[in-house]
Structures are given as C-alpha cells and as structure tokens.
Amino acid sequence: MKSQQEILDKLNQIIANEPSKWLEEANYRFENKAWLKKSQAIALRILRHIRANSISQKDLAERLNVAPQQVNRWVKGSENFTLETISKIEIVLGIQLIDVSDTLKKNESSISFKKEMPFEFDKNKIFIIEYTDKISNSNYTEVTNCVTKDGNIMWALAA
C-alpha cells in the first residue's frame, strides 16, 4: 500500500500541466449568479416555446435575421441579453420573456391611499383589507375618521 505522499509524487509525474478550467468557471458562475438565473429562465422559455411550435433554432435565427450560432448562445442560458434582443424575440415568437409592466402601471388611487393616509390608527385593532374610492352606505356598517375638504369626504375608515 503506497503512502499518500508516494501517490502524490507519482501523480505529479503524469498530471497534465494545464489544470482544469473548472474553478475559474465555477467562480464566474458564482459571481454572476443573479443575472445568469434570469438568462437561464429566458432560455428555457424560448426552448419550450420553439419545441411546442416545431420551430428550429435555425428558423428562429432566420426570422430574427441573426446567425444560428447566436440563437444557440441564447438557448444555453449564459447570454447577457440586451433588452432590445429580448423584445425582438418576444415579438417574433409572440411570447413574454420578461415582465416589468406592473412597475409602471398607473394605479394612483391605491398608491395615494397607501402612502398618504392622513390619520393614524391602531394597527393591532384595525386591519386594512381594501382600498376603495367609493364608500356607499350599504356596503359598510360604520364609517369613521372622516377627513373632509370643502364639504367632500376625502378619506374615511369604513367597516
């Protein structure tokens, strides 16, 4: 039975000069984890869609006027896509790859209600379950904390 050192010495004689690229690649994957995850999700959506619709990568390349190798890079999941490229793919395939539309969606009344409530309330006793811009007496049994402006009710707590 050889000793550990004997084995290591013998190994050093035959091990390739060039070490594996694995650690370098693993470090890269670790450092770029956040956007790589997104790229992978996009790649998977593209692949599943083209498979379901019998579109080859070559077809997709032609439709987008890019080289097939470019499409192949996309579907591997390590491409740092531009927004422009993503949008073009979305249009050609008719699918959504990423969705940030909610961020800019106009919903002023709820935003202003959530941010600008002009009165304090005991959060242990009262839970907000709904914001609405209409209070009609039939929906609620009690209306309090009215804040009025020029005779109009601007804010109220209703239950």
Partner: protein
C-alpha cells in the same frame, strides 16, 4: 475484445513507441486519456480524467452541462418517461430543468468552497460528501466499499469517481441518474464504461491494485 486491445497496447509500449497513425491505420482503437488536476489540498485532492476527444475534463463537463439549458431541456425531453414515474411525482420537463440548475448550483458551491479553502464547512472534506458505492444491489462486483452515508437526498446528480487513497479522487464522469440501476439507461451504462476505462488506466499507471479500489458515486 476491449481488454485484449489494452493488453496489446501495453506490449507495444514496452517495446517502444509506435506512431499514432500506425495504431489507427491498423484499427487498433486505443482510448487515450489524461489526468487533470481540479484542486489539490492536504485533505482533499480531486483529479479528473479528460478523454481524448473532449474539450474539457469530465468534472468540468459535468457542471457545464448541468448549467446548460439547451443540454438539460434536451435531456429531460428525451427522458420524459422517467420523469412521469411516481417516484418523481410526474414532474414536468421545465421543473426538472429548474431543479437541476438549482441543485447543481448548490453542489458546485459546496465543492468550490473546498477548492478555495482546502476544506469545507466544519472541516468537512470530500470524504464527507454524501457518496455511496455503486451497485448497492450487486454486492459481488465491487471490491472496496466506502461507507459515508449522510443525508438521504433525492438529487439525481451524480459524479463518478475512483478513490485512489484516503483523500484523492479521480473523476471519470457524471450523470443525471433517473433510474435505480445504471445499467437501465444508455447514458448511465456509458458512465460505467468510463469508470472501467478509468480504473484500467489507473491500474496501468500503478495507482490501484486489484483489491484496492472501489467505484465511488458522489452525489449532492
């Protein structure tokens, strides 16, 4: 036939070096490979085989494939029937890809920490990674049994290696193993072949004796 060719190869080497084209011309297909270092520390040394027609060693290849969406989507699509078994709860291809990405990321990070620091958390090392001998159900084939049973884990990621000393492992390949037995699928059967070729290579180089090694299956 394979073993006879290897024996012939050894004889050729003893008598002198023959040019490669002689071997190929006479249809003597010999499996060339080289040994590549992944990392080498006092308590943990991981090496990998790189087969001749490959761009990278088997260990790198494992993690590259397990993070390659195209590869994974194709693989799980081809092996959809296995995903539909009760054991996997009829998981979809998409979910299988997502799960593999996540598991391989965790697995790689665990090993990356050992590579950087020389050791894992709490002084753990490669020996502590959950691994088990191949062929749990065929006790006669494997000589040495390594017995590090840790967490029970349903991960299907496998790295195959031969341990040549207490803390030196040589990776021969990898697989996403969806069946109980390696012999049940072509891609895992091929891993058995690679293991045997690696064992033969290591024996030829004098690193292992007949009674001194075991096939190790490292999983997450």
């Amino acid at each position: 036939m394979g073993l006879n060719l290897l024996k012939f190869y050894r004889i050729i080497l003893l008598k002198g070096t023959l040019p490669e084209n002689y071997l190929l011309k006479n249809n003597l297909k010999v499996h060339f490979m080289k040994l590549v270092c992944i990392f080498a520390h006092e308590k943990n040394t991981l090496l990998s085989i790189q087969f001749d027609n490959n761009d990278s060693d088997e260990f790198s290849k494992a993690f590259n494939q397990w993070q390659d969406i195209e590869y994974l989507e194709q693989f799980f699509e081809e092996n959809k029937k296995d995903l539909q078994r009760e054991f996997y709860g009829n998981i979809s291809v998409e979910d299988a890809v997502a799960e593999t990405i996540e598991e391989s990321r965790d697995f790689e990070e665990f090993i990356r920490q050992i590579a950087i620091r020389g050791t894992g958390d709490n002084e753990s090392n490669l020996n502590n990674i959950v691994f088990k001998t191949l062929n749990n159900y065929e006790t006669t084939l494997i000589h040495q049994k390594s017995k590090a049973y840790g967490l029970v884990n349903k991960s299907w990621l496998r790295i195959y290696a031969i341990r040549i000393s207490a803390s030196i492992f040589v990776v021969s390949g990898s697989a996403i193993k969806l069946t109980l037995e390696m012999k049940d699928r072509e891609h895992t059967k091929e891993e058995l072949n690679k293991l045997k070729k690696t064992a033969q290579y290591l024996k030829n180089e004098g690193f292992i004796d007949e009674d001194d090694y075991g096939f190790i299956e490292i999983n997450n």
